[in-house]
Symmetry: C2
């Protein structure tokens, strides 16, 4: 009875206004979506647009945030590789594997260029990546347990030419690290490492330590370790979006402390929800795939994972 | 003005009926969708259900067949491998690769078990596949240029224990092959091989030869060769659904005669449209991935392709 009143029980004028609004909104969504390549998604989004903006308030039964997110599915997402995936291989072998899987963004791990490298060694390594078309967009994960380690890390990052470090500073060094962030204008993305991590098991443990600091102090959410620590990564991405600088994307075989890395799509990560969250918060960083299974022969698993992630993203476009 | 009359210009009773119907439909879709794992798709389909069945007729602007296809997106699709992908490897190596990529359905190619094998050789090979958990669901592609070849092919298929052959009979042998199909109760899926194929370049060239024959005479659409021959595979799947028994799924780098195999997602196949068509026609066969790039080292490309196809399918669930 009350619902019939909401949709305008009996007044001709109110109905006329509703119909006019619906027609305007249909027109708006047809124009907005006409560049979409996939006809099905076009029709889907048009209808959802209508439902979400005009009809749902009428029928009074909607999760408006979920509906809204559906209209944000076209934000581009960049894929990369976390260098740790190639930890059993040389720099040259890791480049060969990057080429094979067709990715160019890479997070450089110390194993391929130690922190105590000379300037010449750093230049030579970076030249090799550049020549191969590999974009080293960050370094890490680097652990900082002393002031000297913080100093070395920022000096190293500067020499590598990156504007972001993925790192793990001891609590008592966070303030000092913030000083270095300001001094170098290099962002620090603190990495969560799951239940065994005494400092930052879950993304929230990072966020609480950086949320009131310089805006360049943020986080690299490792979605596998996040889920192992009991935090849904799709929720963490939304909750901590203002400090989200980098991502380690992986799948794990069980949503528990003992969860292990597995080929994407064979485990328990809800990639659809993760991608939806990334689109919703308009994430502009890199989604770095980190693959930790079969580490002496990882290429097939890495390739399957890259393919899976690309397939899921493409389907959402 | 006329639209406002359609939604019930001013009559309280009509509005009440509309609201009641909407509530019933909401209830129906909540119950229907409650087992879906992906909350977003759940909300999406619920809204689409409402839009498609109740609201769209009201606003008078809908492609009802497209809307209908959206509600058919949950048909299961099985993935397999076309044995030709492993043509440079032994039977044992191909089994090892199947295990690595986590697939169990396989189309057996002669290279791994020649047509002139003895009964013992066939039994031994099939036992190896069975022990490894590999389901040989068909044999092929087998070319049949003589009556003897047709005889041998059907005898071989029977010994292998399959109920389908993917094959290419000369035109003059189609009628004889149909006799064998009836005699053995083994289906024949004729394979299209692109512009260079003098007999069956495109799926339509197969369809026209089998459409009036026994219902067990059908086709294996090779989506890459189909596109190279100028036929959109997503259209061929819909057009020839009544004779579609098997699929060779691949990507190609250009939609032209010179198109070559490439990792899925890097080429021009519209996988979203292909999957949508398969769901729409409720395809119950296997989607056999055929990978023809880097044939001496195909595993990374195969794995990336399997991952991509699984990712696209999962996103559509």
């Amino acid at each position: 009875m009350s619902l019939s009143r909401i949709i305008g029980a009996g007044t001709f004028g109110f109905n006329y206004i509703v119909v006019t609004l619906v027609l305007i909104i249909i027109h708006h969504f047809f124009l907005k979506n006409k560049t979409m390549s996939n006809r099905r998604k076009f029709i889907q989004q048009t209808i959802l647009g209508i439902s979400g903006t005009a009809l749902l308030p009428v029928i009074g039964n909607a999760n408006s945030s979920s509906v809204k997110s559906l209209s944000n599915t076209n934000a581009p997402l960049q894929i990369g590789m976390a260098g740790y995936s190639f930890t059993k291989f040389s720099l040259e072998q890791s480049i060969a594997m990057m080429k094979r899987i067709g990715l160019s963004n890479m997070s450089l791990k110390e194993i391929h260029l130690p922190l105590n490298s000379t300037d010449e060694q750093i230049s030579a390594a970076m030249a090799k990546y550049k020549a191969a078309g590999i974009n080293i967009y960050t370094v890490g994960v680097i652990y900082m347990k002393t002031k000297e380690a913080v100093d070395n890390t920022f000096a190293y990052a500067k020499k590598c030419g990156v504007n972001m470090i993925v790192g793990v500073p001891n609590y008592e060094l966070i303030e000092y690290a913030e000083q270095k962030v300001k001094e170098y204008d290099i962002r620090l993305a603190i990495h969560n490492h799951g239940p065994e991590d005494a400092l930052y098991p879950a993304p929230g443990d990072v966020y609480n330590r950086v949320k009131n600091l310089d805006a360049r102090m943020g986080m690299c959410i490792d979605i596998g370790h996040s889920l192992r620590a009991g935090t849904l990564p799709e929720k963490a991405i939304r909750d901590f979006k203002d400090r989200l600088f980098d991502l380690h994307i992986k799948d794990i075989n069980t949503a528990a402390k003992e969860g292990k890395g597995i080929e994407f799509g064979r485990g328990v990560i809800n990639f659809g929800a993760v991608i939806e969250s990334l689109r919703k918060v308009k994430y502009t960083g890199v989604c770095s795939i980190e693959y930790e299974k079969d580490m002496t022969d990882p290429l097939p698993g890495i390739a399957e994972s890259v393919g899976y992630f690309k397939g899921r993203m493409a389907a959402e476009d």
